[in-house]
Each structure stands twice: as structure tokens, then as C-alpha cells.
Amino acid sequence: MNILSEVWSGFTTTLKGMWVTGREYLTGKPITVQYPYTKREMPYRFRGMLVNDVSICNGCTKCSRVCPVNCIEIEAEGKGKERHVTKWVLNYQKCCWCELCVEVCPDTSLLMSHDYETVFTDRNKMIRDFVADPIPPFTDVNPKPGTNPYPKKENEGDSESGRAAA
């Protein structure tokens, strides 16, 4: 009686499965984060929107050379310490959030922020000149790659360790 044994084992394994889902129903806790109302805490190294502090940037073009998708366009003038950027354009349409540019940046001007709400209402706004349209100072930034995000105390808040540690 093949069919009887199959029905029996189908029945028992179904009960076992119902035990698992029933247990989850009664004791399980949801892990959902109701996004626009509650937001999850971003880890230290979260790679959000790329931001550049043009007052520090000296226009060495290392970032634009390393960029795999060529999304950075730089024009700079001056020699030595006088050197400063006159145009630093980032194309957010192309940027792939790989953090390679931040890694090669000799200074702490180029960093990735923890801002992940990358919504633009206009396509032209996605191409941003940081000299003409400077960003408000970001405090919540990602530490520079390769550095220890926990400088002294291991459980320090992540927002302070960013630019300071880098």
C-alpha cells in the first residue's frame, strides 16, 4: 500500500511543518523596520552618498583616475599649497559607491557619508559641482577605509569617529 504510506508521511511531515510555523506565529518576533518611520542605525563603514569638502581638496585628480566608472571631473589651478579646485563635478548617476576614490584621497576631503536617501527629483541635479554648490558640513561620515573605526574606545558612537579618525 504505497499510497497509504505516502499519505501518512505527507500528513506527519505537514504537522511538523505546521509546528514550525505555528511556533513562529506565537513566539516569533518581527524583524521588519518600518522604514520611513523608524530607521536602522548605519554601521561605521556604510557607504552612502559621496561628499567632497572642496575647501580641503587640492585637486590632485587621484580620485578621478582611480574611479572605475569615470564619474568625477576635476579642474584645478595653482601650484603647491596654492593649488585649489575650480570645478569638482560628481555624477551621481554613474557613481557605484565603491569607495576606491576615498581610499586614494591623500587628504580627508573626499569621504562617504551615511546618507542613503539618494532620491533626486531632477536628473540634472544628479550631476553636482561641489565648488559651485558646496555641501553643508557633514558630521555623519564613513571613516577612511583602512583606518580603525574604533580609535580608542570600542563602543564609541559612530558619528564622531568619522572625520576625526580619518
Binding site: I3, L4, V7, T14, G17, M18, V20, T21, G22, E24, Y25, G28, K29, P30, I31, T32, Q34
Partner: protein, 347 residues
């Protein structure tokens, strides 16, 4: 609830009407009430399905429309009503438009004989069970029409699967209701439930305590799930194989009709099972209440939802095998067994 029904029955008398007009008014009011109940049940069942599945899957489900998302299904219904009415260019327009109505109608007219509360049904038909079995076939016809009329290969597969599945599972559905009907000696749903009253704690006479009916109860429930297209028997619409099966091309209100029909039918199946096997409104400690009946139906619906979120789907040949190799032979054996039971223990 009982009060409402009494008021409704005395409505024509209070309006001092008689004859065909009174009959028409009563019928229309009864239909309206049933329609309202069906819609309400479907809305709440969809909400329950979402919430129960969310709790089983470490999610929270709908949360934002109303308190804990209680109005989410209403909002969805409004959205579906406002959507554009699309008929594919190559579709058989006539079939395409009538199919959802037939499916919903098939599920809805079954409610005509269903007692909505203790001892009262819109139409107290003496062959209620036969009527229910007959009308549920309309759903199959509607689904086949939808699949064929959509002019889509996936929905055609859905329709063909429906034809096979519904026609096969009509038989065990009927066969497994028969043992309990034999015990009660009636085809009237109200009489079936009333025949199970009495006994120890008002529970001992439930049909389910008969060993043959006990098996039949589970088999009926399985066949009922197959008739309502629920997982693990949702082959006609299996979304991972046939995209959405017979309702691939449907959107807006027509899709909502299929959706409503599924839950209306689920309620119907649960209600029949609780009336025929679980004593309807007869409950423990001599209680007799419509709420007890409703509670049984809701528990059965919960089990159906629970099963849906636990099991994977059958394959078409396995589905047929379960029906023809197991459910139908067992149904015949059960009928025979109950016959002997009645012969030896009742006479």
C-alpha cells in the same frame, strides 16, 4: 445577530405587504445582507491572511492604513475599483468579461442555502448540500472561461489544470460529505447541524466522533482546499510556474472578483465542514450559539491559512494521484462503513 435575522424576516409583515411583492422584498434584502456578509468576510479574511502570514514569517504585515492596517484591504479594494478596465486586444471579450462574474456568482449563490446563524438561512432548502455541490461547479466553469478567454498561453495552462483539478475533486467532496449525511438522514444544512445536538456535553453527537466520519472530515477539508485553489493545491494559479495562471491578464475590479470569490469559497467550505461534521452551533456544556458556529468556521479558516503558509505546492499528477488513488476509494469505503455502522448500531 439572531435579532437582526428575526427583524429581517418580519420586515414584510411590519411593512404590511404580502404576496409576491413581500416575497421579492424579503429575497432582495436577504441577498443584500448575504452580499454584505460575503464582502465583509472576504475583506477580513484577506486581512487575516496577511497578518497571520506576517506573524509566521517574522514580518509585521500591513500597518499603516487604520489601526494596525485594518483598513488596508478596504483601501486595496478601492484602488482596484479605480484602476483602468483593461481587456487584452486579442482576448475573447465576451468570455473575458463574464468569467469573473461567473466565478464570483458561483461562490456567492452557494451562500443562499448557508445558515448564517443558528437555524436561519436565506433559503432553507431541503437539498441544500446537493445545491452547494452543484453551484460550486460554476466556479470551475468561470475559471476555464477566464483562462480560455484571456488568449494567453499561461492562462490556458491554468484553465486546463482547473478543468482536471475541479472535476476530480468534485467527486471526493461529495463522497466525503455522504457519511455524515447518512448519519443525519437529511440534506438540509440546518437539519444536519440540528441532528448533532444533544448527547454528553452537547458534543457527543457530533458527526466527527464516528470513526468513518472522522476520516471523512479531514478528507473533505483537503478536497475543499483543492476546490478553493488554496496552497498546496493552487495549481491553476501557481505563480512560480504559470505566473498567475488563469488570471494573468486580469486587473482591477475583475481581478478583485477572483480574489473575493476565493475567500468566499473558503468560508463556504469551512462553514459546511463545521455544519456537517462539527455540530454547527452545538457546542460544549450544552451551549447553542451562532457565535460558536462562527468560531468553528474561523478556526477552520485559520487552519487553511496556516497550511497555506507551511506547505509547498503539489504537482498536477501527484494531485490527481491523491484524489483518485486515495480520497475517492477512502470515500467509498467510508460510505460503506457508515452504512454498516447505521445498520448495526442504530437498528
Amino acid at each position: 445577530m439572531d435579532f437582526l435575522m428575526n427583524a429581517m424576516q418580519s420586515l414584510p409583515a411590519s411593512m404590511q405587504l404580502s404576496g409576491p411583492l413581500a416575497w421579492t422584498i424579503t429575497a432582495l434584502v436577504a441577498a443584500g445582507v448575504t452580499m454584505g456578509v460575503v464582502s465583509l468576510v472576504a475583506l477580513l479574511a484577506v486581512y487575516a491572511e496577511r497578518k497571520v502570514s506576517a506573524d509566521m514569517q517574522a514580518r509585521v504585515g500591513p500597518m499603516h492604513v487604520g489601526w494596525h492596517g485594518i483598513l488596508q484591504t478596504t483601501a486595496d479594494a478601492i484602488k482596484l475599483m479605480l484602476k483602468e478596465d483593461l481587456v487584452p486586444a486579442m482576448a475573447d471579450k465576451w468570455l473575458f468579461i463574464t468569467a469573473p462574474l461567473l466565478v464570483f456568482g458561483g461562490a456567492f449563490i452557494g451562500w443562499a442555502v448557508l445558515p448564517l446563524c443558528k437555524g436561519w438561512a436565506p433559503v432553507d432548502l431541503n437539498i441544500g448540500v446537493v445545491y452547494l455541490l452543484a453551484t460550486s461547479s460554476l466556479v470551475a466553469l468561470g475559471i476555464i472561461m477566464a483562462g480560455w478567454g484571456s488568449h494567453n498561453k499561461w492562462s490556458l495552462y491554468g484553465a486546463m489544470r482547473t478543468a482536471a483539478q475541479f472535476l476530480s475533486y468534485e467527486i471526493p467532496t461529495a463522497l466525503h460529505l455522504l457519511p455524515a449525511i447518512l448519519l443525519a438522514g437529511s440534506l438540509n444544512l440546518t437539519a444536519l447541524a440540528n441532528s448533532q445536538a444533544g448527547g454528553m456535553g452537547n458534543m457527543a453527537n457530533w458527526a466527527i466522533w464516528n470513526p468513518f466520519c472522522f476520516l471523512s472530515f479531514f478528507c473533505y477539508f483537503i478536497s475543499g482546499l483543492a476546490e478553493t485553489n488554496r496552497v498546496p493545491f493552487d495549481l491553476p494559479e501557481s505563480e512560480s510556474e504559470l505566473v498567475a495562471g488563469f488570471h494573468v491578464e486580469y486587473s482591477g475590479m475583475r481581478f478583485a472578483f477572483f480574489f473575493l470569490a476565493e475567500y468566499a469559497e473558503l468560508f463556504l467550505v469551512s462553514a459546511i465542514a463545521s455544519l456537517v461534521f462539527l455540530g454547527g452551533w452545538n457546542g460544549p456544556f450544552g451551549l447553542e450559539s451562532s457565535f460558536l458556529y462562527l468560531a468553528k468556521v474561523l478556526v477552520m479558516m485559520f487552519v487553511a491559512i496556516w497550511l497555506r503558509w507551511t506547505l509547498p505546492r503539489f504537482r498536477i499528477d501527484q494531485l490527481m494521484g491523491l484524489c483518485w488513488k486515495f480520497l475517492i476509494p477512502l470515500g467509498l469505503i467510508n460510505i460503506l462503513g457508515v452504512g454498516f455502522w447505521i445498520y448495526y448500531f442504530r437498528t
